[in-house]
């Protein structure tokens, strides 16, 4: 009976997918549930998901008053936006030049971009730290942004997009008397907005979540980005208040997750584009 067989297959497929989904969701569900539990229910360590006594208000307000969570989030927004704006301002003209203009050294520069793609931030971290320490620039927004201002990935990705832009239109714009600057910002860049949007999502997610570099340059808790703030808060609260700890985790994870739920397409596109590399 092929019909029965197909039904069984479907049940099996959904069974596997749901089991996997449960594993993926477990931390999120338990985080949310624990964030509204009173301490005695956390410490009784039963498998009950929902609390018998709602303690959410206390946990969330404790987390908010004990740690400057809002400050961490604002720092995260400033750093991510600062990085993104400079990355785009610098990468778009560079990508356009590499894709459409003939000038000496173009191929060498492209090879450098390919090399830069392979170098993770942990490599220049040590010399950059020494330089920032010498200039007394540690614990500043500039120090948080510095290593990421040039994005080889942005240049590479946008170059691919600009290459396929029709030369005729650029030539026509030139004959109309448009300067190269105008051509980049008013004609070519807007045409690549899906790539720019996907890259932006990619960049913001990466730098909102980065721990390694903030951990190195930030010692002043008030300058911490969300992951570093979370780490400082967890260190200060270890073992004592899991409800508040989970409340803090929820609040620091929520912004990106909410944006993801609304802009799923761009997140997926951003990941898929890494495969273009």
């Amino acid at each position: 009976m092929p019909c029965l067989q197909r039904a069984i297959t479907r049940v099996l497929i959904h069974g596997v997918l749901m089991a996997g989904a449960a594993f993926m969701l477990l931390p999120f569900v338990w985080m949310l549930a624990t964030s509204i539990k009173p301490p005695e229910e956390v410490f009784s360590a039963t498998l009950r998901l929902l609390p018998t006594r709602f303690f959410g208000a206390e946990n969330y307000s404790f987390a908010l008053t004990q740690a400057p969570l809002l400050r961490f989030a604002i720092n995260g927004v400033i750093v991510c936006l600062g990085i993104l704006v400079v990355q785009l301002l610098v990468a778009i003209p560079c990508a356009y030049a590499l894709a459409k203009l003939r000038f000496p050294g173009r191929n060498l520069l492209f090879v450098l971009v390919l090399l830069a793609l392979a170098i993770p931030v942990q490599v220049p971290a040590l010399p950059l730290y020494i330089a920032l320490a010498e200039m007394e620039l540690l614990n500043t927004y500039l120090s948080l942004m510095l290593p990421f201002l040039f994005s080889a990935f942005a240049v590479f990705l946008l170059r691919q997009f600009f290459k396929s832009y029709p030369d005729d239109i650029i030539q026509a714009a030139r004959l109309d008397g448009m300067g190269e600057m105008e051509i980049v910002w008013r004609i070519v860049a807007p045409s690549a907005w899906p790539a720019i949007a996907a890259f932006s999502v990619f960049s913001v997610v990466a730098h909102w979540n980065d721990l390694y570099w903030p951990l190195i340059v930030i010692t002043d808790g008030g300058m911490a980005t969300p992951p570093l703030g979370m780490m400082l808060f967890a260190d200060a609260e270890t073992g004592s208040n899991y409800g508040a700890l989970m409340a803090a985790a929820t609040m620091l994870t929520a912004p990106l997750v909410v944006i993801f739920l609304f802009a799923r397409r761009w997140f997926i596109a951003g990941v898929t584009m890494t495969g273009v590399k």
């Binding site: 979370m230 899991y242 495969g275």
Partner: protein, 297 residues
């Protein structure tokens, strides 16, 4: 016309150079010069704030080779990659194939499996630490319910690294799944129909004759990026184990971080970073080789 061409060539030359200058200055400032300084530092005994720094030749590298902490951290990092790689690639492939066939529920599963990629890993590592807590965590509560003994996942030396690897797989699965889904969408439906005519009826037959070979370039790409990401493990170690218990979860980047930014042994940390970079470049070389082959596919 030729006057126009000449003028155009001149404009292109100068605007071209002008347009790449900011990018190249930033690249030199944030990557190339630091890279040169790093190489230089790796041959010195420089420590932050030290007055007398001298060249020590290759002593830092010799020290690394003999250093039990470094050897253990390199071994642990490679072991971590060896666990995460098959897990995060194999499971992502399985999930992607199952999700690809769904019509109505595809978006639902996509969201769930992708959720860990977007969430802040540090926050979620704290949550995992709590989930795995021997007394308070639900995982052990469940084990007790089934009649098993408690398992101290993060304080048992032989369990700490595999546990971190499970969290690593949890985090990477959705990312890889999306890459596989993109690869699967690129395979033409006609091929499956043709195969069915040719007698490939069962799902496994179709997978082995069409999906697997055509998906090979994607699989190779996912394997290399997963290896690089796994090789860079730092966050979960910093939050969940700090290299412990008894050094069983010491990994390369955590070692670099401690030597460079906690003990301020800059020269030695620079040498370790150079070794780290050599591994990353090796992975990247494999990657460009793979991509080269993919374009000819």
């Amino acid at each position: 016309m030729s006057a126009f061409r000449l003028r155009q060539a001149r404009i292109e030359r100068w605007t071209g150079l002008g347009f790449v200058t900011p990018a190249m200055l930033l690249f030199m400032l944030t990557s190339l010069i630091p890279l040169a300084v790093l190489l230089g530092l790796s041959f010195t005994n420089y420590e932050l704030g030290a007055v007398d720094t001298k060249s020590v030749g290759t002593a830092n590298f010799a020290k690394a080779v003999a250093d039990p902490v470094f050897r253990r951290s390199l071994g642990n990092t490679l072991l971590y990659v060896a666990i995460v790689l098959p897990g995060a690639v194999g499971l992502a492939l399985l999930i992607a194939i199952l999700v690809h066939g769904r019509r109505r529920s595809r978006g639902f599963y996509e969201v769930i499996y992708f959720l860990p990629v977007t969430s802040t890993l540090i926050a979620m590592a704290t949550v995992w630490q709590f989930l795995l807590h021997p007394r308070l965590g639900p995982v052990n509560a469940f084990l007790r319910l089934l009649g098993f003994d408690e398992v101290a996942f993060l304080s048992e030396p032989h369990l700490a690294l595999p546990t971190l690897a499970v969290v690593g797989i949890w985090q990477l699965l959705g990312f890889n799944m999306v890459l596989f889904l993109a690869g699967l969408s690129a395979i033409s439906k006609d091929l499956y129909e043709a195969a069915e005519v040719d007698g490939c009826v069962s799902g496994l037959d179709r997978f082995l004759t069409i999906t697997w070979p055509l998906l090979m370039p994607t699989t190779m790409f996912v394997m290399v990026t997963t290896s690089i990401t796994a090789f860079k493990i730092f966050d979960t170690v910093a939050v969940m184990t700090r290299g412990g218990p008894m050094g069983s979860s010491e990994v390369l980047l955590y070692n670099v971080y401690l030597e460079g930014f906690q003990y301020f042994h800059m020269g030695y940390a620079a040498a370790l970073t150079v070794i780290f970079l050599v591994f990353i470049l090796m992975f990247s070389a494999i990657q460009s080789f793979v991509l080269e082959r993919r374009t000819h596919y």
